[in-house]
Amino acid sequence: MFTHIWKKEIRGELYTWKSMLWLVIASLLFSFTSYLLLTNQELSLLDQTELLWLLGKIMIGVALLIVTIDASSILNVEFEKETAESLFLSPISLRDLILGKLFASLTLWAAIFVISIPYIVVTSAGSHLAWAFMGYVALLGTLGVVGLVFLIFGISLLYRSSKNTITTALIILLAFATPALFTSTLKNDIVSQTFSAINPIDNIFNSLDNVLVDYKTSLLDNWQFLLPLIVFCVVAFLFLFLSAKRFTKQGIIKND
């Protein structure tokens, strides 16, 4: 049942140009970044591994931002455009709706990843890291996107407003992203270290560093970064589950 919602969302994203525009912008960003990094690498101001690490961070960062914006409105738009009532009068359940929309958000991430493949191939030429780079961008990006979408959907069901959801989601993304920009000195105290250990974006970037700069490409070597990401997904899912229960209790039409 959720596949019909998924297909409808994909068609809507294609025909309303919304996602296509984001994909074009993402590819322009990747083009600019990879060109800039490779011309710097020509001057050997940048090691190839450092180049790949920077590019990997940008790819996943851009994807997380785009998916955040998309996921913030994809559920609420049904209520704001008054199409929810017709939907819920049909045999679909809230679970089908959420699953269908989740897969639509994941499809957007998949599209961004597919676009990034040619850039990955060209920048990692000669480094023997192409497959590792591609694999870890896929794995880390997927874990990050899944957790983030669960979280945002949970917020959507609580707020029932696209505007409030997108504001909150962007603040959360910023809260996760900002410490990743700190220098190692600032990250030395116990509070920063604790936050860094649970921060999904820090774990994504640190894992990429581990793979691309330190050549530790096995899953076992990256388990310390993958586990917090999996935990993040589980916690976000629990949050979504509880939000959905509350939503169901309140009803599609909220008691005022």
Partner: protein, 244 residues
């Protein structure tokens, strides 16, 4: 004849305000039931509770022998034109009806045939490839009716189906509803247009301040209110003004 819709002791309040208060409704299969009431009387709340969109605070609902908790079975039995009339503006009429046909599990040739037939019934065949965003209000109303009929429902719930339509449009919808009722579809019509209700409905219920104040045929209502020579408008005004 058994009840196809049975609502007992329905109660719903929003905050401190009681929207529906101990409402009892029993509608027989094949009836054309009119549900009248002034603004804010509780008509939409009642329809939403019966169709499963809203959970009542208290009371029981049975639709064609299924409890309101059997959502899947009830969804297959009913068709609804709800109060909120949103559409996916980027879709064409064919895509829209196709999407809902998929949700109801209608596929293949049956799906194509049903969509074509419904578009013809609501006179949207010529505009079936146009985006819904380009439709007039009346066209959207007709498309909403087509969507409500996509699953060949046994019961049709209509919340102001002719709202905003010109007289010709109203006439077209009304004759379609008569045709459906003649085929055995039970119709639950909520409307402000008393003439429409009087023309179409075999039985009428009048709600005011959340309570069902009267129920019956026009003659029964005339008898009850002792307004034998009066029309439905007078009866309605008498009942709703007296109960404020």
């Amino acid at each position: 004849m058994p009840d196809i819709i049975s609502a007992e002791n329905l109660k719903k309040s929003y905050g401190g305000n009681i929207a529906v208060d101990k409402l009892n409704l029993h509608i027989k299969k094949g009836e054309f039931f009119g549900f009248l009431g002034p603004n804010g009387a509780g008509k939409t709340t009642t329809i939403r509770m019966i169709t499963g969109i809203l959970k009542p605070d208290y009371g029981t609902i049975m639709i064609d022998g299924h409890a309101s908790s059997e959502k899947q079975k009830i969804a297959q039995t009913i068709g609804v034109i709800p109060e909120s009339r949103g559409f996916y503006d980027w879709m064409t009429a064919i895509e829209y009806l196709g999407f809902f046909a998929d949700l109801y599990g209608i596929t293949g040739k049956e799906k194509e045939k049903r969509i074509a037939s419904l578009l013809s019934e609501v006179d949207l065949t010529k505009r079936k490839h146009s985006r819904i965003g380009t439709y007039s209000r009346g066209m959207r109303q007709r498309l909403g009716l087509a969507r409500a009929l996509i699953n060949n429902p046994q019961i049709l719930f209509l919340d102001e189906p002719t709202l905003g339509l010109d007289p010709q449009g109203q006439e077209d919808i009304q004759s379609l509803l008569k045709k459906l009722n003649a085929k055995g579809v039970t119709v639950f019509l909520s409307s402000h247009l008393l003439n429409e209700v009087a023309n179409l409905c075999s039985r009428i219920g009048i709600i005011n301040n959340g309570k069902l104040v009267a129920e019956g045929t026009v003659s029964e209502l005339q008898e009850k209110t002792k307004l034998k020579d009066k029309n439905l408008t007078d009866i309605f005004l008498h009942l709703t003004r007296n109960n404020q």
